[in-house]
Symmetry: C2
Subunit: 295 residues, 2 copies
Amino acid sequence: MDLSALLAAERASVDAALDRLLPRADIWPVRLHEAMRYAVFGGGKRLRPILARLACRAAGGNAEQITEAAAALELIHTYSLIHDDLPALDDDSLRRGRATVHVAFDEALAILAGDALLTEAFAVLARFPAGDTFASRRIEACSIVAVAAGSRGMVGGQVEDLEATGTAVDPARLERIHRAKTGALLAASVELGAVLAGASPARREALAAFGRDLGLAFQISDDILDVTGTAATLGKSPGKDAAAGKLTYPAVWGLDAARETLDHLRARLIADAAAIEGPEGTLAAVAEYISRRDR
Amino acid sequence: MDLSALLAAERASVDAALDRLLPRADIWPVRLHEAMRYAVFGGGKRLRPILARLACRAAGGNAEQITEAAAALELIHTYSLIHDDLPALDDDSLRRGRATVHVAFDEALAILAGDALLTEAFAVLARFPAGDTFASRRIEACSIVAVAAGSRGMVGGQVEDLEATGTAVDPARLERIHRAKTGALLAASVELGAVLAGASPARREALAAFGRDLGLAFQISDDILDVTGTAATLGKSPGKDAAAGKLTYPAVWGLDAARETLDHLRARLIADAAAIEGPEGTLAAVAEYISRRDR
């Protein structure tokens, strides 16, 4: 399988859906819609929507039907980045090599553009896929995403990440942060695809478990990259987490142990993917891709 | 009808639902849940949930079945207040006589507590009222609220309110701000009650139109109160909008003309309420109450 061609085609489908879904930048209120589009079309990998589409296919569904709903995940991911970058939180002025929203526009607009993207995501999830067949699945999709993105999921992880910064090494706390902050929405992405495909409870749970492990693998590899990457490969300054005193896998376990954990996770992910979709499927390829970004 | 007894009983039902729905303050992440509860239990009138329940009854529904969904409106209203009060927006340190969230906690937690409340609102709307009968109505409720709270509704109104501050008098702009910033969610509250009651399209539209006018009446009376009220009656400093150069009804039209507009709206609201629920119903009483707060 040519993974990079697959990912490029997937990304193009998701980008087209995002462009259809977001209000045009010349519609009132213009500055807000400009800021929303600036943030969304900033070079993201679209990993969450792509995972939802791949999971949908792995569960026997038609991925083309769920592209809009999958794109809603990217709206939520984007809002979380805008708010994380704010001066009161991580205070980042660069994201993927471009000025962050509060720098390119202003702080008020960054807060409100984030709010609007989060809200729009649920408008999209309530509407797509259209049709009565999908009505009860849409409700379930809203619920899964809201729980994953909420106070006991993504937002909770961000709160604890801020609280833990500069504190003593605490492995249980580190895992809780990672599972909530990044893992919950990645797991929800996989589960969303399964639910919208009408997957059986067993297959849905298998995909959700795969999603949770994938989220953890993603975060560990992100932590490793912060230590080993360069500004050119990362699109942001390396060593930032370490300098800020963030609780990361290399900080808590050391770089070698972090890599070893990632190797174990990768093996399990590939085995689990094979059980779900047969050998050499797209989920295994993506798991491989995500967990080898550090090489 | 004893309106104040009715409103007190309604408020108690809504408060009980909010207490059931919000994670307890001793559940992880503790500080976040503390901040969410601090903001929600800060003495709000619960106007939006109450309107939803009254509209539900007026449309022949059972208001007890929709209390949770109605309470979700209060979660959204509360999030919007937390974010509006932030230093980058209105920079308010007092709200209803208490420290605002970013003062009582900190700015990062205020941003994240707002995010979590908005997200939780959609988790609630996706889940309540429970049962298959309500599944398609829940989806419609999510959609109505998301559109009203989003970039072309509440958030859009807030953006334009900030942009218009200190600019020249512009009546069309003033009305656009008010209809979006306050009107959209109040109108959605009435419509939510109608939709969850399973109202006919005609009755639903009549209730939605009533809600839009009610939202405008609410905002005009709020603008007037900022000019005529005292710190004791308002729970915040009067004259703040005028001092900040905000576009308000009294600023654009003068105090007398603002009161006259409010009188016209009140008469229309009471006539429309009578057409919906018969004479001397609760919607008319609430319209009277809202539009007479300035006396």
